[in-house]
Amino acid sequence: MNRRKFLTILGSAGVVSALGTAKVAKASATHTFPYYDNSYGVLHDTSRCIGCRSCEEACNKINNLPKPDRPFDDLSVMDKKRRTSAYQWTVVNKYEVGGKEVFRKTQCFHCNDPACASACFAKCFSKQPDGSVAYDGSQCVGCRYCMIACPFYVPGFEYDEAFDPLVQKCTFCETTRLQKGLLPACVEACPVDALTFGRRGDLIKLARKRIADNPGKYVDYIYGEHDAGGTAWMVLAPAPNAEAAIPTANPIDAGHTFEKIGLDTHLGNRPMGEYTYGALGTVPMIIAFWPLLFGGAYAMTKRREAMHKAETESVIKTAKEDVATAMDAAVRTIEQNQGQQAADEARKAMVEALKAREASKAEEHGAHGEGK
């Protein structure tokens, strides 16, 4: 049992037992090393991409997405940075690296351990063994937490749809093409081989080979190999200038280049979901200890009240006894000095006075006690 699995189980133990489902552990049961080595992925070599938008067109067609306002051969749309949306599952953007134009296609990265799947509270997203991250809209509540969670700003939402608005993103053409043995539409449409489809492990080897075979051409970094826990779609970036040969390639340069083509290099190599596991792990602790803590505080309060009450009672008792002794002494003195009759009268008067005093006290206390 690895750490993630342990925390997942720990984090959900309370709820699971409450709901009587044992499905939880399954989500993380596919974790084996090497991580998704044999599942499919795509390597995007941005040094080859010419920004023709053929991939966008192919994606639009295969997925029956609405026709865009401007045709796909209108390359001026790239003057503005675009992101994926519910109606554009892939977009190509233009960047400038070292004075040269570089194009990068973006789409769902199909993370090994997707943030959206970790964030979804209705289990709409699932990482498939073939490498794709599938979304099942039939149980989507439309909370859009997946969009908050996605570090690549990928999922889009159909805000203009009134009755069945769903989250939409690239499917890796899983059901439409992959399962029929066909390449994803965008990969097939690419005229310059900027997109290479294959097993993830092979793609990493291929990328390494390209970097090694072409000294100075690439930044020595495969974006997506480890970023955000690793992704199925990975990116190679051209080196900013020819002099930057591989041996000297330092990670900071690599970071700068990838940042220039719009990729976040500060995601770290842990799946995004792991950032929440610590917090989720405290849930059973709180469920276990809080009742104890507050129950203990309550018990202490109760005991304090009881002790206070007993103390007050004993003080009152002592006071009453004192009064009785004093009264007896006084009556005995009167009896000795003035005779039996006077003593009886004095006792009667004293008892009545005490009774009246107690009654008035009780009334006062009662008025105060009403508030409780």
Binding site: V15, V24, F121, C124, C143
Partner: protein, 404 residues
């Protein structure tokens, strides 16, 4: 202590709706807001979320989450804060503050769920989270805890309507007894659930370290949210008390009026301590995460405004107010603190979120989103008024005296 007669509904006259038909500016404004809100509701549910919001793919959560959910839950923290102080810690002199606090907490949570329905793409599928539990999701924890806590609050609150209705339906007297007997269990259950979901509202943002500005992002976000919710709870009791004294003073009994000031001072003192410790937590976290250089940026200035003007300042005002036994100063501090909580939640959910996206593409709530939020608040106030006019919240019901 003044002598006034509280209108207590009787068996023959259960309703006391006269207050709503009085021609007062408050009632007029309420009516206008409710009509506008109703129209917007119709538009929202027939034309889609996009028709009245500025939400987009980069900003999937806006005003309705930032205000209605985050602030709504946080500002309803008065419920657990007061019940724990009174029942668990044995501060019996807060007793008259418990029912108003539970009432507002219950309404707060109920309307958080109500407002959430506007924001969800498929509001009717909300229960799906129980059928397809995504247990790795923080949102699942939030949902489960809020649902459970809303139930707990409903049971805690149910004593008031049962006392009101028991004149017509005497069987409720038995039920009421059962609930009253469970008070301490419900209180402890409530504080567990509150701890969990108040903190996990902060945990929601843990998954997006790249999107939230480093001055606000911290692995300790859940703790910040929880600690600030305690301050919010104490502040809201004072804040709501202030408005209640303005609007529904004639429904408060002698006990409530006698204890009200002491509640203000005690809660101010507590809030001062909590806010100071919250300030220290945030400050140390900022230093430990090496965020000091960010303080020289625009966001840094904004962070300082929040920390100094809306955390430290109310803490000091509270401290001075409770020391000098100055009710108006404490109330001023409560306004400041409540604003601070709202500011903090806005910062985390909207202002410092997506800080790296170009300013032109940033989300600004549309006027209609704000209107819906105002509509929800107005609904809460209206239902609160209905409850106060009918049920023993600010006074003790003569039939159930000394029953606590």
């Amino acid at each position: 202590m003044e002598n006034h007669s509280i209108v207590i509904p009787t068996k023959d006259k259960m309703l006391n709706l006269g207050e709503f038909s009085l021609k007062r500016p408050g009632n007029m404004i309420t009516a206008v807001i409710l009509v506008v809100g109703f129209v917007l509701t119709v538009i929202r549910f027939t034309q889609g979320i996009g028709s009245i919001t500025n939400l987009d793919d980069n900003a999937p959560w806006g005003m309705w989450i930032g205000f209605d959910l985050l602030c709504g839950v946080c500002l309803a923290a008065g419920g657990y804060f007061t019940t724990v102080a009174c029942y668990v810690m044995g501060m019996k002199h807060f007793h008259s503050a418990v029912r108003p606090a539970i009432t507002t907490a219950f309404l707060g949570y109920a309307f958080v769920v109500f407002a959430l329905l506007y924001d969800l793409g498929h509001p009717l599928r909300l229960p799906y989270m129980f059928f397809f539990p995504g247990t790795t999701s923080v949102l699942f924890e939030v949902g489960l805890c809020v649902a459970t806590y809303l139930t707990v609050l409903f049971i805690e609150f149910s004593v008031a309507p049962m006392e009101w209705l028991s004149q017509k339906f005497p069987f409720l007297i038995k039920w009421r007894k059962i609930v009253v007997r469970c008070t301490i269990i419900l209180t402890i259950f409530g504080v567990c659930l509150s701890t969990l979901h108040q903190s996990s509202l902060g945990s929601l943002y843990l998954i997006a370290p790249g999107k939230l500005h480093p001055l606000w992002y911290s692995p300790f976000l859940p703790m910040f949210f929880f600690v600030s919710s305690m301050a919010a709870g104490a502040s809201m009791v004072i804040f709501e008390g202030m408005w209640a004294h303005k609007g529904v003073h004639h429904y408060m009994d002698a006990t409530h009026l006698r204890e009200a000031d002491e509640v203000v001072f005690s809660f101010s003192k507590a809030a001062a301590f909590i806010l100071i410790s919250y300030f220290m937590l945030k400050f140390i976290d900022m230093l430990v995460q090496a965020n000091l250089p960010y303080l020289c940026t625009g966001y840094g200035a904004w962070w300082l405004v929040e920390m100094l003007g809306f955390v430290l300042l109310p803490a000091l005002l509270y401290a001075k107010g409770s020391r000098d036994r100055n009710v108006s100063l404490c109330r001023l501090a409560s306004c400041n603190a409540v604003l601070g909580i709202v500011l903090n939640r806005f910062n985390v959910s909207m202002i410092a979120f997506n800080y790296n996206i170009p300013a032109a593409e940033r989300y600004v709530p549309s006027i209609w989103e704000v209107c819906i939020s105002i509509f929800v608040v107005t609904l809460i106030v209206t239902v609160y008024r209905f409850i106060v006019y009918h049920m023993p919240v600010l006074y003790e019901h003569p039939n159930f005296k000394d029953a606590h």
